[in-house]
């Protein structure tokens, strides 16, 4: 329990350092642009691929589980749309990003720690926590919602392709379904969750990397911990946010 509280305290002390005034905003701006590319743009591919296949599978499973003639066919499109908007584009995508960018952040910062690059920054008088972590947090907070929107569009497109090519639903029914009883707030709900998840992934992973003590083995362990802790927190906050935002 004491260990948990100690880690909890260290996490918030690190955040305090991260959100202190930047030494030179123009340098931070450049770093943030770099992180947009490394953490954001480079994740578009994996999000698009996973969303496409998720959308396809959701459509097919919904179709095979609603074969009763009393259910209108357009429900397949509606089910695909809501599943993707409410859960898959935000929560599942966040779990995948925790694996991809979470491990990347923890190993990058952890390696900098064990090779004394963070000490070199501190010696120069640079606030290393802010310089290394703040641009990553800003980049993911702004870019992950874009990834969510891409995930929603590609996921529904995947559902449409799978549904029409397999013949379980006509194109007209699917398009009618994805337009039927649309609640725009669901998009807002999904984006709010994404912002929270982006913060969890980046800050927890950076925390794990920043306090690595040892060598390459510890960097590997920190990377694993970053993914595990981020994933658990994402699932926990998914429940909390859903209760708050949809109740």
């Amino acid at each position: 329990m004491i260990k948990f509280l100690t880690q909890f305290g260290r996490y918030f002390l690190l955040l305090k350092k991260v959100f202190s005034k930047p030494e030179k905003p123009v340098i931070y701006y450049k770093q943030t642009m770099r992180e947009f590319v490394y953490l954001g743009l480079s994740s578009i591919g994996i999000i698009a691929i996973i969303s496409f296949f998720m959308g396809a599978v959701i459509t097919l499973q919904t179709a095979y589980n609603t074969e009763n003639p009393i259910y209108p066919k357009y429900l397949i499109g509606l089910g695909c749309r809501d599943s993707i908007i409410l859960e898959f584009s935000s929560t599942v995508a966040a779990l995948i990003l925790a694996g991809k960018i979470g491990s990347n952040i923890a190993s990058e910062i952890g390696t900098m720690r064990v090779t004394e690059q963070i000490d070199a920054l501190e010696i120069m008088g640079v606030n290393s926590a802010s310089y290394l972590i703040l641009p990553k947090i800003i980049a993911t907070l702004f870019f992950n919602p874009v990834l969510t929107i891409i995930g929603i569009i590609v996921g529904i497109f995947g559902g449409w392709i799978a549904g029409t090519l397999s013949g379980v639903i006509s194109s007209e029914n699917f398009i009618y379904g994805i337009q039927y009883a649309f609640i725009p707030y669901y998009i807002t709900y999904s984006l709010i969750k994404t912002v929270f998840f982006a913060f969890i992934i980046t800050s927890v992973s950076a925390f794990q990397g920043y306090y690595v003590d040892g060598g390459s083995l510890e960097v590997g362990r920190a990377s694993t911990k970053a993914v595990v802790y981020s994933s658990v927190l994402i699932l926990l906050f998914n429940v909390i946010l859903t209760q708050i935002l949809l109740s």
Partner: protein, 253 residues
């Protein structure tokens, strides 16, 4: 000048530095020597503020460094340069960007002025035509020299070197030692070098302190070290067979 008074440092209750008091003079190459694990690196990192100390005083000229807040320390840190054991160059930046980094962070110079300074520093350490290379493309000796160039980019008053010769061949090690000594004299810096390399001790040791198990056992210079009465120091200095033979031949009438 850097003055240390009764410095104590422990990790998890275990005392690793005990009552260290020493004065490091400006314009001189000051050496901290000792066996691996004796506390040299901890002492160096305590002096630069990377480790919090339990008790004692660390004075940079007339400023009590260990009692300053972050802003106060930052002012003194802007006058520090440090060469780390593994060079600690930023992997994602080129040689030029590495040396330019402190200039980007702490000066308002134009890009041309900064590049001019970068080239001056790189020339000073004999790194030519390597501006666009990444650290992974450099040899160990080149990395050390680029790290020295980065350390002197802001004309520091204090230069700290943690085992600058580790992993280098004897000839490159001598070149690095000579460079550190030249720069120290040229810029009148207070230079502190951590080493367990006896070649360095004999080449550049203008002031030397010997640490054993966290305690300062001896203080002197390179001319005095061979005639010391300190047993642990003699065990360290004459550890290899060549040094032992030299000692015996010197003692013979």
């Amino acid at each position: 000048m850097i003055r240390i008074i009764n410095l104590n440092k422990s990790f998890n209750g275990k005392l690793v530095l005990e009552n260290i008091s020493v004065t490091f003079e400006s314009g001189k190459t000051n050496l901290i020597i000792g066996r691996s694990g004796s506390g040299k690196t901890v002492l160096l990192k305590s002096i630069v503020g990377l480790h919090e100390i339990e008790s004692g005083e660390i004075w940079y000229e007339d400023k009590l460094f260990n009692k300053l807040d972050f802003a106060g320390k930052k002012v003194i840190r802007s006058e520090m340069g440090m060469l780390f054991q593994g060079s600690a160059l930023f992997d994602s930046l080129t040689v030029e960007q590495n040396v330019r980094f402190p200039l980007d962070m702490f000066t308002d110079n134009t890009l041309e002025e900064k590049i001019e300074r970068v080239n001056f520093c790189l020339n000073r350490v004999d790194i030519i035509n390597a501006n666009q290379l990444y650290p992974s493309e450099l040899s160990g000796g080149m990395k050390k020299r680029v790290a020295i160039a980065r350390a002197i980019a802001l004309n520091p008053k204090y230069l700290f070197c943690d085992e600058p010769n580790s992993g280098l061949d004897p000839i490159t090690a001598i070149l690095i030692d000579a460079l550190i000594k030249e720069l120290t004299e040229e810029y009148s810096m207070t230079t502190i070098v951590n080493t367990h390399d006896m070649n360095s001790v004999m080449e550049i040791g203008e002031k030397i302190i010997f640490i054993s198990e966290g305690v300062k056992c001896w203080e002197g210079n390179k001319n005095e070290i061979l005639n010391s009465n300190c047993g642990t120091l003699n065990d360290f200095v004459f550890a290899n067979s060549l040094a032992k033979k030299l000692r015996i031949s010197n003692q013979e009438p």
